[in-house]
């Protein structure tokens, strides 16, 4: 045994020391593991502190340690810390092993003897393992300077502009005909009440005109190959049936188009569009799209009105979907959210009771460019409501639907209340569970609403019905609620009900996650690398997330994330290359028999088979280090750094050095 | 009481130990032939897939794996109730005949031969195949080597490997042979016939013409009057691969002739507490202890017994030698154990002739190799096809059908050394009559 190993047992204050007898453990390791090469074993209050790290570094230098085992918290917390400490003392960082005696021992066990014995076992496992560690160097791969942004909502727009302004190419992919996302559908934005379009459109135009941005609307990502630094992304451009190079966006085609279609996307079903259309006047790009599902020509084979009237002959009924592949170094996913479908709560009557509206419908009603020209009226399109009820937390904070808080509904509802009173003077009731106004200027807005005389009823709405019990309820919608402040059941008749539906992950978010090789939470929001410290990166190098795709948030927060993701990527682009974890598989060419068992096991197609030499080989840059091929190779020809057979098998031996049933009686 | 221990017994396949007890006068009072080994094929074949039997039982004996391979293969044919196509049967018998030639050569020159060629009193260091080669000279030695080589070459061509063949499966074989291979096999076969005749000449010159040996053979010191077992074809001629089991009594008259599958009705194994070996005997005669004669179920299964149990050989040259054999030794049956070596050479000649017969039969290549040994597609009950009963029963059954050059003890005694050559068998016999 030539290795000289140092073992460092952390108290983590009382987090570990409170349950594990750290002094005993460290003493035990020093004595009982001496044969395994342990030359020094210490315990210390906080190993991760600068003093703790210096302690290790001092030993590395003075004791000529060749391996270090730190017994502290989870490697996911401090592996880097201690590797860097070793590096600082001139020891290859990968010769350090951090074993967890906190998350997996002191925090989860109460029997002190057992926990102490387990700590010993865990450390002996770490010692046995670290002997077989090899000095590794990170793998360096170049970063392609171009970036792909998926999703043209405010988060995606912000990210694209940040990167493009910094002078690098961005491909912005949007599956709708225009960028803008949900924000483009809104009327006013809280708390300042400035017009959504007024602040968004300039940014949209910037994107449209930006020399560094390649805008790909009416397009979807089909396939993602490669790895951080150089992804090859295949994008499908759906046929617009418009020759964009000829189209001026004059609008004659949609004026002349005879076919009216209910607009379920932008107008949320409140208004119509034509079969050839732009979603909204300020759409970017300005080119329309022919909706080949509803277009008379595609249904009946005749019409072609648009083609007849188009001044520039920009119509092309034979246009086919087109696939392009772009090379990018990094990817930002900003694919946004879906609205909770209020129909799922039948007792609220949406879809059955005409004057129950969703928040999105109401945004369109308020919007001057919307179906009612901005007049707040009932479904009949003329009657102004005298009383309006706004129901908060629809589908949110409700274990039957979504347990989480959608974060924006309170402020949105307050905004609605304000707009209703401002424009109709109607009486407004807010039905809330709690009012949450945490951000800058939000609470002030709430106070203003209170002063405006909006009524607030604290209680979860039980039912919205049109079944009257008393004459004054006739012809009204009655909101049944328990007012928890006065502890009474109340029935409040109103003319209009607005349901503040919460946000939920995109219906296809799981597929998108698979496509880009990242993971979803239980609620299907994309999972960030760290909830606090790294909210825009993902577990997959080179893939970032921004906006509501990561979880419910309002516009400012989405903009922040878009900018943050952009900043992260700009940093990478500046470095020109990235250092990857050297945990990789390699195939011993002499031992490989070319049996081809491994060939289809790699989801990253990192394994290629040489027909000429009849052996397989791993592309280290594509390899993600999962080790599946290592485990599968029947010839034992594939080895995996960082998690080699020797390392794991020795760790098993080490872990089994102590039998737990001895825990009650200290070993020897 | 004086004791002589021979440990281990040598120049035969397998493990054995002989304890000889002498009285004050130095005469043998008793001798025990002990088998010190048990590997447990009967146990661990249970639960294995049926098609593996030809591969597993191979390992009972690496000197005659072909015998066990054939035996097990025929058992699996029976398990699936399939008739092997004629080409398949011929290929198996061709492989087996070639193996006979190589194996009998090994036994005669390497294992038994030294006793004769080197003489009973030759020093240990020389009493072996190399000594033989030194004595008879490289030219003859070369022939011996050549014969072994040819035999194993055929085994490899048809069986896939020189030792422990792997191509026999339920219903036939995994592959056939090409015309080039057939030609090669035929040529080697013709050479084998010459070699067999040459070997008989050697035996004639070295042994029969030597009075001392001849007396040893015809004298009654190595004589036991037992039953004799062998496999015979429909004309009661010796056959190695297929036929019925025929047993003749010490008087040379047929005692019984039965279908191999009925082996259990005729054979039983006696157990002694001082050895791992089990002692097979004719059930219906009964176990009377280690003694010979018509009342003792002890029987012999060797080249000699096969000649005794048959009415002749199915090929002309071998038939001529067969007649010479009995006329020289004074008619049937021959009870002198040492005549086994002569009988073996007659079988060698028969095997070589049969080898050429089969290699020149037009049907030997009548089937495309991919069609070989495949069960009818209709057959698809597979899951129950693992050995679920005592495999030695099976192994025995078919071993009896095959009736290899090594006697019936082979399967029955697979519990000890897998494969006692007749040399150790005759040793067994010898221990019996010391009683």
């Amino acid at each position: 045994m030539s290795e000289r190993i140092g073992v460092y047992v952390c108290h983590c204050g009382t987090n570990i020391a409170g349950v594990v007898d750290v002094a005993d453990v460290s003493k035990w390791a020093g004595e009982k593991l001496a044969d395994n090469g342990v030359v020094i074993s210490r315990d210390y209050k906080f190993m991760c502190s600068s003093l703790g790290q210096e302690l290790i570094q001092k030993d590395i230098k003075e004791q000529n340690l060749t391996r270090v085992v730190v017994a502290a918290c989870s490697p996911h917390l401090h592996e880097r810390t201690f590797r860097n400490a070793c590096k600082g003392a001139g020891l290859n960082p990968y010769l350090c092993e951090l074993v967890s005696i906190r998350e997996q021992d002191s925090w989860v066990h109460t029997d002190k003897a057992a926990a102490t014995a387990k700590a010993k076992a865990i450390i002996s496992g770490g010692v046995a393992r670290v002997i077989h560690h090899e000095a590794l160097e990170p793998l360096r791969v170049p970063i392609h300077p171009d970036t792909l942004v998926v999703g043209g909502g405010i988060a995606g727009i912000q990210a694209a502009l940040e990167i493009a302004d910094a002078g690098f190419r961005v491909y912005l992919v949007e599956r709708e005909p225009s960028i803008g996302g949900h924000m483009a559908q809104f009327d006013k934005t809280f708390p300042t009440l400035d017009c959504s379009a007024c602040i968004l459109t300039p940014k949209m135009v910037d994107v449209g005109n930006h020399p560094n941005i390649t805008l790909l609307t009416w397009s979807e990502v089909q396939k993602v190959d490669g790895y951080v630094g150089n992804f090859a992304v295949t994008i499908k451009k759906k046929p617009r049936y418009i020759k964009t190079e000829d189209c001026t966006g004059c609008g004659i085609c949609w004026e002349k188009c005879p076919k009216k279609v209910v607009d379920n996307v932008f107008e949320a079903g409140m208004g119509n569009r034509k079969a050839v259309y732009v979603p909204f006047p300020q759409a970017v790009p300005k080119y329309p799209v022919i909706d080949d599902v509803n277009c008379t020509y595609y249904l009946k084979g005749t019409c072609k009105a648009c083609e007849k009237f188009c001044p520039t002959n920009a119509i092309d009924f034979n246009q086919k979907a087109e696939e392009i592949t772009v090379q990018v170094g990094n990817i930002i996913l900003a694919t946004g959210y879906d609205l909770f479908d209020a129909r799922r709560i039948p007792q609220y009557g949406y879809g059955k009771l005409a004057n129950v509206f969703t928040n999105l419908e109401f945004e369109r009603i308020c919007n001057a460019a919307g179906p009612t020209g901005g007049n707040i009226v009932l479904r009949d399109g003329k009657t102004a409501p005298k009383t309006v009820g706004i129901v908060h937390c629809v589908g949110s904070r409700d274990k039957n639907y979504n347990a989480y808080c959608s974060a924006i509904c309170c402020m949105q509802s307050l905004k609605f209340a304000h707009l209703v009173r401002e424009r109709t003077g109607a009486e407004v009731y807010n039905f809330y569970i709690d009012i949450r106004t945490p951000s800058k200027g939000y609470e002030e807005f709430y106070q203003r609403l209170l002063e405006e005389g909006t009524r607030f009823v604290r209680g979860k709405v039980a039912e919205v019905t049109n079944v009257a019990r008393v004459p004054e309820e006739e012809g009204k919608l009655i909101i049944q609620v328990e007012d928890t402040l006065i502890g009474k059941q109340r029935r409040i008749p109103v003319d209009m009900v607005i349901l503040s539906s919460g946000m939920q992950a995109r219906h296809d978010s799981k597929d998108v996650a698979k496509l880009f090789g990242i993971s979803c939470s239980a609620d299907n929001w994309f999972i960030e690398r760290h909830p606090k410290l790294d909210p825009v990166a993902t577990m997959t190098e080179g893939i970032y997330i921004a906006g509501c795709v990561q979880g419910p948030k309002d516009i400012p927060a989405s903009v922040v994330q878009g900018a943050a993701a952009a900043a992260r990527i700009l940093g990478k682009i500046q470095q020109k290359e990235i250092a990857l974890e050297p945990v990789r598989a390699t195939i011993n060419q002499d031992q490989c028999s070319g049996c081809r068992i491994c060939n289809n096991l790699c989801p990253f197609s990192a394994i290629l088979f040489h027909e000429d030499t009849m052996v397989s080989e791993v592309n280290p840059a594509l390899c993600q280090g999962c080790g599946t091929c290592v485990a599968a190779c029947p010839a034992g020809a594939i080895s995996g750094t960082g998690f080699s057979n020797e390392q794991i098998l020795s760790q098993i031996d080490g872990l089994l050095l102590l039998n737990i049933s001895h825990a009650a009686v200290p070993v020897e | 009481m004086q004791r002589i221990t021979i440990d281990p017994i040598t120049r035969l396949e397998g493990h054995g130990k002989i304890e000889i007890f002498l009285n004050e006068q130095g005469n043998v009072t008793n001798t025990y032939f002990q088998i010190p080994e048990l590997r447990g094929f009967e146990r661990f074949c249970v639960g294995r897939p049926v098609e593996e039997m030809p591969l597993l039982t191979n390992r009972i004996c690496g000197v005659c794996p072909e015998a066990h391979h054939m035996a097990a293969a025929k058992a699996t044919d029976a398990v699936y109730h399939v008739e092997v196509p004629r080409t398949g049967k011929m290929l198996r018998e061709l492989l087996y005949s070639a193996f006979y030639c190589t194996d009998h050569t090994t036994h005669f020159y390497a294992l038994g031969g030294p006793d004769f060629i080197m003489g009973p009193d030759a020093p240990v260091a020389e009493r072996n195949i190399l000594g033989v080669i030194h004595k008879v000279g490289l030219e003859i030695g070369g022939k011996v080597i050549q014969m072994r080589k040819y035999g194993h070459t055929v085994v490899e061509i048809i069986g896939g490997r020189k030792v422990h063949p792997c191509t026999s499966i339920p219903g036939g074989l995994t592959k056939g042979i090409t015309e080039e291979q057939r030609k090669e096999i035929e040529t080697m076969g013709r050479w084998a016939i010459e070699f067999a005749q040459f070997s008989l000449q050697v035996f004639n010159d070295i042994v029969l013409s030597n009075k001392t040996y001849l007396d040893l053979i015809v004298g009654d010191i190595y004589t036991h009057k037992t039953y004799y077992m062998g496999m015979v074809d429909e004309n009661n001629k010796v056959n190695f691969y297929d036929g019925k089991v025929r047993v003749v009594g010490p008087d040379g008259k047929e005692y019984v002739k039965y279908e191999p599958k009925d082996y259990a009705a005729h054979i039983a194994e006696h157990v002694e507490p001082w050895t791992y070996l089990k002692f097979p005997y004719l059930k219906n005669v009964g176990w009377k202890g280690f003694t010979d004669g018509p009342d003792s179920g002890v029987y012999m299964a060797t080249p000699l017994s096969r000649l005794n149990a048959a009415d002749g050989m199915a090929t002309p040259l071998a038939q001529a030698e067969y007649e010479k054999f009995y006329s020289t030794l004074g008619g049937k049956p021959v009870h002198q154990r040492l005549a086994i070596h002569w009988a073996r050479l007659i079988e060698l000649l028969y095997a070589a002739e049969r080898w050429v017969e089969l290699a020149t039969d037009p049907e030997i290549r009548s089937m495309a190799s991919t069609e070989m040994g495949k069960l009818p597609d209709s057959f698809n009950s597979t899951t129950d096809m693992t050995i679920t009963h005592n495999p030695v029963g099976t192994d025995t059954a078919i071993e009896v059908r095959v009736c290899s050059n090594h006697h019936l003890l082979v399967p029955l005694l697979s519990t000890f050394i897998g494969n006692p050559l007749q040399m150790c068998a005759s040793t067994t016999m010898r221990t019996i009559t010391f009683n």
């Binding site: 925090w107 496992g125 939470s521 999962c626 080790g627 089994l656 737990i660 | -």
Partner: protein, 155 residues
């Protein structure tokens, strides 16, 4: 208290994947959810790295049971490698049974990074199941009746 009177405490080796089940264990820790101390975890990058050799090694080394855990099907950080672990698990169980090791001593557990509580609960359940099975003591070569058999000397 003496060895005899102590209840049997099984030793279980658990293989976890870096992305889901190991994080589930971390989560259980951060949430201070208590569970039986009988399990000792080994971190692999992915359940796809699980080599049956590891399982055999654990049993041969004296473990009473082995836990294999990874991301839920479809959630694999490496897209679909946990399915390979699942396939191996199914074959492993069959082989172990033939080698005289009760299938109950090998458990496959899918746990997402968020399922600390489930992870802890499953471990407790498993420990009790193994406690019920008793110490791993597969068909002993050894004792005999009339044929004396040498007791193997433990080196």
């Amino acid at each position: 208290m003496t060895e005899e009177t102590k209840p049997f405490e099984p030793v279980i080796i658990g293989f976890t994947c870096n992305w889901c089940s190991y994080r589930a264990a971390d989560m259980a820790g951060t949430a201070r959810i208590k569970y039986a101390p009988n399990i000792r975890l080994i971190r692999l990058m992915c359940s796809g790295r699980l080599d049956p050799t590891f399982v055999f090694k654990a049993f041969a080394g004296g473990a009473d049971a082995v836990l294999i855990s990874g991301c839920h099907p479809g959630d694999c950080h490496y897209v679909e490698q946990n399915y390979k672990a699942m396939r191996r698990f199914h074959l492993l169980k069959r082989v172990l049974a033939q080698l005289g090791i009760e299938p109950g001593r090998l458990k496959l557990l899918w746990a997402s990074a968020a399922e600390g509580a489930i992870f802890a609960a499953e471990i407790n359940k498993f420990v009790e199941e193994v406690r019920a099975l008793g110490p791993l003591n597969w068909a002993q070569p050894g004792e005999q009746v009339s044929t004396p058999i040498m007791e193997e000397v433990t080196a």
